[in-house]
């Protein structure tokens, strides 16, 4: 059987393991992308969110075989971008990272939202982040950070 081919953070990647393996496990164990967190393994918490062809997806609910030909972005790739720098600055200014476990998923959720709606309303931000659970912050600091990033990163999205 042919290996599964995909782009991982811009690098052409070929995976020869079982196509039924969870993308989450493959990213963490095979490619050591440990920013992708396992919070529930059943698609409820969003800690394992990655971008697949720009869409925010829970990687725990994806079989690696189904990403053949896709472009996958994790925080390891995204953190090298200017858009990340804008989000980083905004999250820092509101102290939005507490325990930090939801944060990689939250950052990618913010990217997925802002790439669709560069200047979202508060309701749109809350809706855009609602698939990613955070138990620490009460969400206000994260929502404010996304709002600030959208303002400060004018033109990036």
């Amino acid at each position: 059987m042919d290996a599964i081919q995909f782009q991982l953070n811009g690098t052409k990647t070929s995976y020869s393991g079982d196509a039924a393996n969870r993308l989450l496990d493959v990213l963490r164990d095979t490619y050591e992308m440990t920013s992708v967190k396992c919070g529930c393994k059943e698609g409820e918490c969003g800690a394992c969110s990655v971008l697949i062809d720009g869409m925010l997806i829970n990687s725990c609910c994806v079989a690696v075989g189904s990403v053949d030909g896709c472009n996958i972005v994790t925080l390891e790739g995204y953190r090298e971008t200017k858009r990340f720098a804008a989000l980083n600055k905004a999250f820092a200014s509101t102290a939005a990272a507490q325990c930090g476990f939801c944060i990689p998923g939250m950052v990618l959720a913010a990217e997925a939202l802002l790439s669709k709606i560069p200047h979202p309303t508060e309701a749109q931000i809350r809706d855009g982040l609602s698939g990613n659970l955070c138990r620490c912050t009460g969400y206000n600091a994260i929502v404010n950070a996304v709002h600030l990033a959208a303002k400060g990163g004018n033109g990036l999205w």
């Binding site: 920013s35 953190r79 200014s93 102290a95 325990c99 982040l129 609602s130 600091a141």
Partner: protein, 708 residues
Amino acid sequence: MQNISQPVVKKDHESKITGRAIYVSDYHDDNILTGKFLRSTLAHAKLVSVDVPPLPDGYCYVDKTDVPGDNNVNIVKDDTPVFARDTVEYIGEPIGMIVGPEESEVDHILSKIKVSYEELEPVLDIRKADTVFFDYEFGKGDMEKAFAEADKIYEEEFTTGYQEQAYMEAQGMIAEPEKDGKMLIHGSLQCPYYIHGAIMRALACGPDQIHIKQDATGGAFGGKEDFPSILGCQVAVAAKKANAPVRCIFGRREDMEFTTKRHPSLCTYKVAVKDGHVTAMDIDVKFNGGAYTTLSAVVLQRGIICADGIYNIENLHVRGKALKTNTAPTGAYRGFGAPQTFFAVEMMMDHIAMDLGIDSLKFKELHMVKQGDATSTSGKYHFPVPVPAMLDEVDRVCDLRRKHEEYAKPQTGRYRRGMGISMHFHGAGFTGSGERDIIKAVCRLHKYPDGKVEILASNGEIGQGLLTTFPKIVAHELNLPLDQVTYTYPDTARVPDSGPTVASRSLMVVGELLRRCAIKLRSQWKDGEDQIVEEHFKEPDFVIPFYLDKFQGDAYPTYAWGVNAVEVEVDTYTGLTKILGAYGNFDVGTPIDYNIVMGQMEGGFLQGIGFASIEQMDYDNKGRIRNNSFTDYLIPTSADVPNMKCMLHVEEYPDGPYGAKGAGELPLVGVPAAYVEAVEQALGHGVKLSHVPFTAEDTLKVIAKEGL
């Protein structure tokens, strides 16, 4: 705002925002073996036999016979077994562990193990529980006289359910034998020295033979206070047997079902009222402790001390029991017994006011404590009680007094509104003389020849910001740039025991010790030299000594205060409650970083709203918890409470650093009563609600029953 309150970029921000922070599951090392538990499938049974199939090379089975020392985990008492003894006492109790290199093979072996049980009758209902773990009683005044002279006596029962901490990172630990014969145990945890003490006993080893290190920890909220002592002993025993590193990471369902959570409660209040005034309260508190005691003693102590709320009740009798049931042990969760009793007392006051036909807020204001008054345990409120001013501040943002009276009038139509108000305190630090007699915190500063200063303390960063706020205090006192002062995840091999990361104590108690260390270092500072200074906890002089046998004296040196208001709109067709606004005004003294403290307030407040409204967890008639996933146990999302506003009121505490008091737990404690009073107002018709969570289904039941 004081200079120290100005927000800074958190020192762990960069590692967390980039995803580089290493949590226990992130260590990539093929030599680490995977450990998974064989768990009891019955709530109460005698273990007859455990038949383990022949194991492939590299795999082993670990159980109580492998524990080199005491098969008991030292927590407050030591009744929790490392691995099950001759009986199992709850569904999920660890009987043994399979350890090996491949997780799939470990799972396969576990599925082949046959356990024979002799089933025993489980006790699941706390009303029927007859094993009393802890039984406390205290009071003051003349109860008989007060009840004899009462115009009216009110009696009511209140219940609260489980609450799961639902930290985003599940429990996980690694035990690694080291080359020198020692062992390192590290992972997701709050209290390194608790674990250190527990594992020393389980391995029967000296203090230098093991050390405990905290990894980046993905939330805790009390859930990683007691439980890691148990898991730590288990992985340490397994690593000892396998003579290899063993890692155990919980799945979400495993974590929700089998780890400690908030004690369900049943509180009965009997209240005497004379001339429109409460003259006596006779309070009976029961907490469901589950199968083993863990922290139930201290959770119960805090719960009963708060049982008369922020009111000056001259005649008081409180009896509290923690009872055994054959369910997963309950333990620490933010608030630590106080959310249960504050809910009960606030609702009781609301209901008496309703019956007397006066506004519940006005009724409560008549009874409110003030500076100099006696506490429930005949201690003293030594410092100003800022609640009246805090109420006014909340009133200004949400018009609560007017709305509270307006919504109390009869309403019709599909959508009806309510405004609920609650007031509460949280005593900072260990209950009673715990700080002085048990914890005896020590911390150090190490100044290096290059002028950099390292903080040596054992308190963990669990999201609450200690990696930043501790250095802020020391840098401020030494007049150094913040990047010259460091604090890293504690390792017991390197740091003294400054106590556990619990009881909203770290910043107030340890932070003040660090401030004193810094003053000492400043006075002795010699450029270019390596210097170490140390400070020990000293109880403030004003404290009235607390006697636990009598429950008398100052249970806490000072209190953080909270005023909560929640405005709701209930859809009487669907039972759904929309929160129109949730307002929390909190006095935690001086914030040592405005953003960090605000983050604590908002996060805790939302957890309280969850507890009050949607976080439903229960077990079936076999004792199995069914709400064991985020599908069946809902926690708030970013879309649920868009209008949540927290405020800070600052009443400085002279014995906390720059006036800071305990903060972490306060914002959760008062929400249930505010939320439920709001729903009660919206439903109207004199309904009296008495439990949390109060879900949409509960609302529909009341509507159907009362024909609203």
